[in-house]
């Protein structure tokens, strides 16, 4: 069973190769490829015996090792002309990759030590929501002044006005002519006059207000309506006038 635990450790073919190299105290730049290949294959065999899954990466490496071993066994062609081949060790690429891998394996070891140290140091666990909740009574209107609110209102209304050309087609009722008739009818109905402010309904849009005001001015110009105000800023009363200018 001890064997199995050991088998489990290896993270991949490189990891296993390293283990073999270190176990045999081999110089990585001069790997006895035949011996290492034998041990590597023994290991795969052991894995198989233990029903461990042998991933394809291990098999690819086995093939690579066998191919290198084969090349090493071939007698070196004493062709000094073939300079490119000369001096190229079949193990070279493998060694390069092993060294590259080793670099990070050692960094991993460094990280492992740092992790152990860092794990002994505990920060306070802060429940961000809980802390923020202490300030939950915060003011969603912070920085908003009354003038900002009015400004927003005016802007909305201005946008409504911009849309008016389209609205006018469907809302024929807000023409000055219609409003003139409407005001006359209202004043004729209320012989005792009415308040200026009553002309404007609470839901009146800005355009409606403007149209109403213009209609009223028109009626006054035509001498059909009289506006009276008893004092500055006081209520304005409107009265219908009959044809000859007297109060109806």
């Amino acid at each position: 069973m001890g064997y199995k635990i050991k088998l489990d450790i290896f993270e991949g073919p490189f990891d296993l190769l390293f283990h073999l190299i270190e176990k045999n105290e081999i110089d990585i730049y001069d790997i006895p490829i035949a011996e290492i290949t034998r041990q590597y294959l023994d290991y795969l065999y052991a894995m198989e015996q233990l029903d461990l899954e042998i991933t394809s990466e291990f098999l690819v490496m086995a093939a690579t090792l066998l191919s290198i071993k084969a090349k090493m066994l071939l007698p070196r062609q004493p062709q000094e002309d073939a300079e490119e081949e000369e001096g190229v060790d079949p193990r070279e690429e493998l060694v390069e990759r092993l060294l590259e891998y080793k670099k990070y394996k050692q960094v991993a070891g460094y990280l492992e030590r740092r992790e152990k140290e860092a794990a002994k140091v505990y920060p306070r666990e802060i429940n961000v929501e809980e802390v923020a909740a202490a300030f939950a009574d915060d003011n969603p209107l912070e920085g908003v002044e009354l003038t900002d609110l009015l400004d927003a209102l005016v802007q909305v209304m201005a946008r409504v006005k911009e849309k008016e050309p389209f609205a006018r087609i469907t809302r024929e009722e807000i023409t000055i002519r219609d409003k003139v008739v409407q005001i006359q009818q209202e004043l004729n109905r209320r012989k005792n006059g009415m308040l200026f402010s009553e002309l404007f309904s609470k839901q009146a849009s800005r355009v409606e207000i403007v149209v109403t005001f213009l209609a009223l001015l028109e009626l006054m110009r035509l001498g059909k309506v009289l506006a009276r105000q008893s004092r500055n800023f006081g209520d304005i009363y409107l009265y219908a006038l009959d044809a000859d200018g007297g109060e109806a």
């Binding site: 003011n139 969603p140 908003v144 009354l146 609110l149 927003a152 209102l153 005016v154 849309k163 609470k202």
Partner: protein, 187 residues
């Protein structure tokens, strides 16, 4: 206590990481001390935190002890956590303005004015407690009528809605000769 230095540190460490107040009993268990000894250590730690220039304090709460921030620095903590609360969006402000002046008003009526859907915005304003449901409109579907809340009034220091400035003043301003000309030109 001879051993106090190290145990004082251990106790501070425990109080520092604890998620909840630690009872004297619990501290005594972990530190393997008598409860009286723990109390002595607590006194020492508390004294340490009472020195000037400290931002934390030892508080006895819910049958235990807890290290907490000092209340006088709450404003700094708020600044640290504040960026999470966002200012009202333009859409929210406009919707709020319409409702403030036209209340009680239905969602559809607000949409009529703003020209866009306001479901999301109204929900947000409701969540923030700036709007309230104030009734149902008579008629098909009996839609909810919205109005502004007390929180809204309080923020602007208004006694009642009557104190809202008259939007007609703005209309009057718009009626100013200059503005009118400008507007006329912009048509």
């Amino acid at each position: 206590m001879l051993f106090s230095e190290e145990l004082l540190g251990a106790m501070e460490c425990l109080l520092f990481v604890a998620h909840e107040p630690l009872s004297v009993k619990r501290l005594a268990e972990i530190l393997e001390l008598k409860e009286a000894e723990v109390e002595e250590l607590l006194d020492m730690l508390s004294g340490e935190y009472e020195k000037s220039g400290r931002g934390i304090q030892l508080v006895e709460v819910a049958g235990g002890y807890q290290v907490c921030t000092r209340p006088e620095f709450a404003a700094y903590v708020e600044k640290l956590y504040k960026p999470q609360t966002q200012a009202l969006s333009r859409a929210a402000l406009e919707t709020l303005a319409i409702i403030a002046y036209k209340q009680p008003i239905t969602r559809a009526e607000v949409e009529q004015i703003r020209g866009v859907k306001v479901d999301g915005v109204i929900n947000t304003l409701m969540e923030k407690g700036l709007l309230e449901e104030v009734g149902r409109k008579e008629g098909p579907g009996r839609p909810i009528l919205y109005g502004t809340s007390n929180k809204f009034l309080q923020h602007f220091g208004l006694k009642s809605l009557d104190e809202l400035p008259d939007p007609e003043d703005f209309v009057a301003e718009a009626g100013d000769a200059e503005t009118a000309v400008e507007e006329g030109e912009s048509r």
